[in-house]
């Protein structure tokens, strides 16, 4: 049943910090977040960590475990051997506040830059009609719990601070796709995806899809179809002529 596990947990703040060693009890069925909580209760009462639901539904406890972006509450201790040292570090793409807590305000800023749902003109509340098959595509993206692990892992911004300004990241490009695929959304979002939100910087390495704890197929179902729509628009001769005409006016 119980055993003592070796943990290395990053502790520090925006100025400096490093890995601290802990030897800590582990019981059957526990997840990494349980162990972090045990450290708080017994060895490090001021160890900072974000968490809420402890059931993989709120997306608060994002961190990196042995270098892999994961939710602390959904990583079971049974996936490690008893003699393995488990290293827990904060998400690397965002500035550290303290210990495992990072400043994720980048994501809230990007969320604001995506124009919101545009209700269909003239359709009254209660009169919205949509088929299940048509809402399912966007529903998949609305499963997103905003853990920001995809934003954290995406190599466009992971070690490239300079790209942050022009790149919304997988989560918010997926939000553009979600609205674009919404059966009743009244706005055209295709050109903005490329021009304002940096879709072109994504080169579909699928890292985001791999780390998504909700198993959303971000690349295949959101980003690639969005890229296809951009390409259709850009290289469609009829559209090209029409847009020339529009510009002239």
């Amino acid at each position: 049943m119980g055993y003592k596990a070796s943990f290395k947990v990053w502790r520090g703040d925006d100025k400096d910090g490093g890995l601290h060693d802990f030897l800590v009890e582990v019981n059957e069925g526990e997840v990494v977040l349980d162990i972090i909580h045990r450290l708080q209760a017994t060895q490090a009462p001021d160890l900072a960590v974000r968490w809420n639901c402890k059931a993989g539904k709120c997306g608060s406890c994002s961190a990196e475990i042995n270098g892999r972006p994961r939710l602390l509450c959904m990583t079971r201790m049974s996936t490690f051997t008893e003699d393995e040292t488990i290293t827990v570090t904060p998400m690397r793409t965002f500035p550290v506040i303290k210990d495992l807590v990072t400043d994720v305000s980048f994501n809230y800023q990007k969320a604001r830059e995506i124009p919101s749902f545009a209700p269909p003109p003239g359709v009254q509340p209660g009169d919205y009609r949509m088929q299940q098959v048509d809402v399912e595509r966007s529903q998949e993206f609305r499963k997103c719990i905003e853990c920001f692990l995809c934003q954290n892992t995406c190599h466009v911004v992971r070690d490239h601070e300079e790209n942050k300004q022009n790149f919304a990241g997988p989560r918010f490009l997926m939000r553009v796709a979600e609205l674009e695929m919404h059966p009743l959304d009244a706005e055209d979002r295709v050109s903005a995806a490329q021009e304002a939100h940096g879709l072109g910087m994504c080169n579909i390495t699928k890292c985001c899809t791999e780390v998504c704890p909700e198993h959303i197929k971000i690349t295949d179902n959101a980003l690639i179809p969005l890229k296809e729509r951009v390409a259709d628009r850009k290289y469609d001769p009829l559209f090209a002529v029409a847009s020339l005409f529009r510009r002239k006016r």
């Binding site: 708080q40 009462p45 059931a55 993989g56 539904k57 608060s60």
Partner: protein
């Protein structure tokens, strides 16, 4: 002392779950500069945990549904202790609030003709819950969050500032409400990140802080649920009602230990899941109470037929209101017919094909697979009761959400009355929307009615609040985690699902000891993101509210809804019209009795007199239509 950060708003909403966000949207749409304050990040509130759906009598699946039927179900579920005006407003306005979400961009599951699909749930006569698989709460919170962003985008276009009229202060805890004379003047709190203090000057505060479940050991609630709004209101002079009524959800996970209490949605039963004990028996048929005898199937065959032919069969007893199912599971386990880990079996694998289960219950499938190695499409789950919801809360005016303190409003779980002694599943999300909007409207109206200068927060009040917040750093006693663990054990063991007078007296004695010890709590480290300090502050609220629960529960000598006394097992019609009200005085917490306002005659007439006779004393029914002149 360094200068303290100050903000000035028309309306300050504390809490960013469904009720808080809906209140803030309304206040902002009424032209009020609005602040939203939350302990977590924006979009992480406990509402995301709601799974099953939003109850609203839209009649999309069964056209027999309407507000009167919903009202009746709500009153029955609450054993007629509900504030009937709230239940009426709720039943009438819920459909509009759901439809409005679609205009904000929500995508609910659909019916064949393209309308919002609705599912069955315990205590609801018709399929009534608008839903998105089993992640409806996430859809609700994200939709409201995105609506707020869209309002900020409008403000940005108009002013160049996203936060001109509505701003979210995230990871900020309010520790005290500040009054000028008898009315609200502001709120005091600290940034969790830096530990720095903040003062909000505002004439109107809307509390939307949710529940109190973190005072219990086995709970489906997150760390935020420490009764903050309840305690802030109590200390500010408002009253709490119905605090003895706590809902234990019948189905929480029981294994492994680290996930004990995590919710298993009622949709599992709504979609056909059955409960069995270790002997393989569908035991719920043994537990149908007299008041519900006519409404539920008495044989497995009839219950099974109901899923395909609801018009000619009665529903299976797995879909009784939550209090009934939770008590039944508790009895089975106590009688030695539980599962290896002390629960009962919940099985949907024999009813639905694997693909259908994954489509309808994706997050349950995911949760059990990832956390318990159980494949719910092939084997049963083990489940048991978990502390889920507090029916009790701040006493408010049903129409405006205003408490007894001028300028102090409340909505959602931290307010009381709407659900009586037991809430029906699905009625929480609709409650958040209906009364969140009304509280936002109420607060805006209150601000408009003010004349003269706004009430001020004084330096003395700020310095006292700072001193109180910093006290744990001066302490020399225990760490807050130890006291919290003991509190949870006391509430679980002594004020839990089944109660006795002797145990609750013991609980009060222990709570008193815990409070003494809590006065000397010591926390280590500094003020920057210090979870030990945060817990020390939240713990004060939990202790206050736990005492309210225990005192009220000791006082109510009957069993009703979320309050079950082993020493007073029957429901007593004499108690139906009596509310227990908690307030504070110099001596501590007082509990007094207060008469319920009699049910309005036209609402009384929505029920048959025979049914009412099971709940009311006969004099209360003199206004019923059956008593009229023949």
């Amino acid at each position: 002392m360094t200068e303290i950060e100050r903000h000035n708003y028309d309306v300050v909403v504390i809490g960013a779950g469904g009720a808080g966000l809906r209140a803030a949207i309304e206040a902002r749409e009424q032209g009020k500069r609005t602040a939203i304050i939350c302990k977590s990040l924006f979009g992480k509130a406990h509402t995301v945990m709601a799974e099953g759906g939003i109850a609203a009598a839209m009649g999309n699946v069964n056209s027999g549904d309407n507000w009167q039927v919903h009202f009746r179900d709500t009153m029955r579920g609450g054993k007629f202790l509900n504030n009937w005006r709230m239940a009426e407003l709720h039943a009438k306005e819920a459909p509009e609030r759901v439809w409005e979400l679609e205009t904000y961009g929500a995508l609910f599951d659909r019916t064949k003709d393209g309308r919002i699909s609705q599912r069955n749930f315990g205590g609801h006569e018709y399929p009534r819950l608008a839903h998105v698989g089993d992640r409806t709460g996430l859809e609700l919170i994200r939709t409201l969050q995105q609506k707020i962003v869209s309002l900020q985008q409008e403000d940005y276009k108009a002013t160049g500032d996203y936060e001109a009229n509505i701003k979210v202060f995230q990871e900020l805890t309010i520790t005290e409400l500040v009054k000028a004379g008898d009315r609200i003047a502001g709120a005091f709190g600290y940034w969790r990140e830096s530990g720095r203090f903040v003062v909000f000057e505002t004439p109107a505060v809307v509390l939307a802080t949710g529940g109190i479940g973190k005072s219990f050991k086995v709970t489906s609630n997150s760390w935020e649920y420490t009764g903050d709004g309840h305690a802030l209101a109590l200390r500010a002079g408002a009253a709490l009602i119905n605090m003895e009524f706590i809902q234990f959800h019948p189905t929480g996970m029981v294994w492994p230990p680290s996930v004990k209490g995590i919710l298993v949605t009622e949709s599992v039963r709504g979609d056909g899941g059955v409960l069995r004990n270790s002997e393989g028996k569908r035991f719920m048929f043994e537990y149908i109470p007299d008041v519900f005898k006519e409404k539920y199937a008495t044989t497995e065959e009839e219950g099974d037929r109901w899923y395909t032919d609801p018009d000619n069969n009665r529903r299976p007893p797995e879909l009784l209101p939550r209090d009934e199912v939770a008590r039944s599971i508790n009895s089975e386990v106590k009688a030695g017919r539980g599962t290896p880990h002390g629960g009962v079996f919940l099985d949907v694998s024999t009813r639905l094909p694997a693909e259908e289960i994954k489509r309808r219950l994706p997050s349950m499938h995911h949760q059990f697979k990832e956390l318990a190695d159980v494949d719910i499409t092939a084997e049963p789950m083990e489940v048991g009761p978990t502390c889920h919801y507090v029916m009790g809360g701040i006493e408010v005016d049903p129409d405006t959400g205003q408490s007894a303190v001028p300028g102090l409003f409340a909505a959602g779980e931290c307010s009381g009355g709407m659900h009586g002694s037991n809430r029906l599943g699905g009625n929480s999300l609709s409650d958040l929307l209906v009364f969140g909007r009304r509280a936002g409207l109420g607060a805006a109206g209150y601000v408009d009615s003010l004349t003269g200068p706004r009430p001020l927060v004084t330096e003395a009040q700020v310095s006292q609040a700072s001193k109180d917040a910093l006290a744990p750093f001066e302490g020399s006693g225990e760490n807050p985690y130890t006291i919290h663990t003991e509190l949870q054990q006391v509430m679980n063991d002594l004020v839990g699902i089944i109660r006795t007078g002797e145990e609750m007296k013991l609980a009060l004695k222990k709570l008193d000891e815990l409070r003494q010890r809590a006065n000397h709590i010591a926390v280590e480290g500094h003020r920057q993101f210090n979870p030990g300090w945060h817990l020390a502050i939240d713990l004060r609220n939990m202790l206050w509210i736990s005492e309210c629960v225990a005192r009220a529960a000791l006082e109510r000598t009957e069993s009703r809804g979320g309050h079950t006394r082993d020493d007073f097992p029957g429901m007593d019609a004499g108690w139906r019209s009596t509310l227990l009200v908690c307030t504070t005085s110099d001596e501590g917490i007082d509990v007094r009795r207060q008469d319920q306002i009699p049910l309005r005659a036209d609402l009384l007439d929505l029920f048959e007199k025979d049914e009412l006779g099971k709940y009311f004393v006969s004099e209360e029914l003199s206004a019923h239509r059956a008593e009229g002149t023949a």
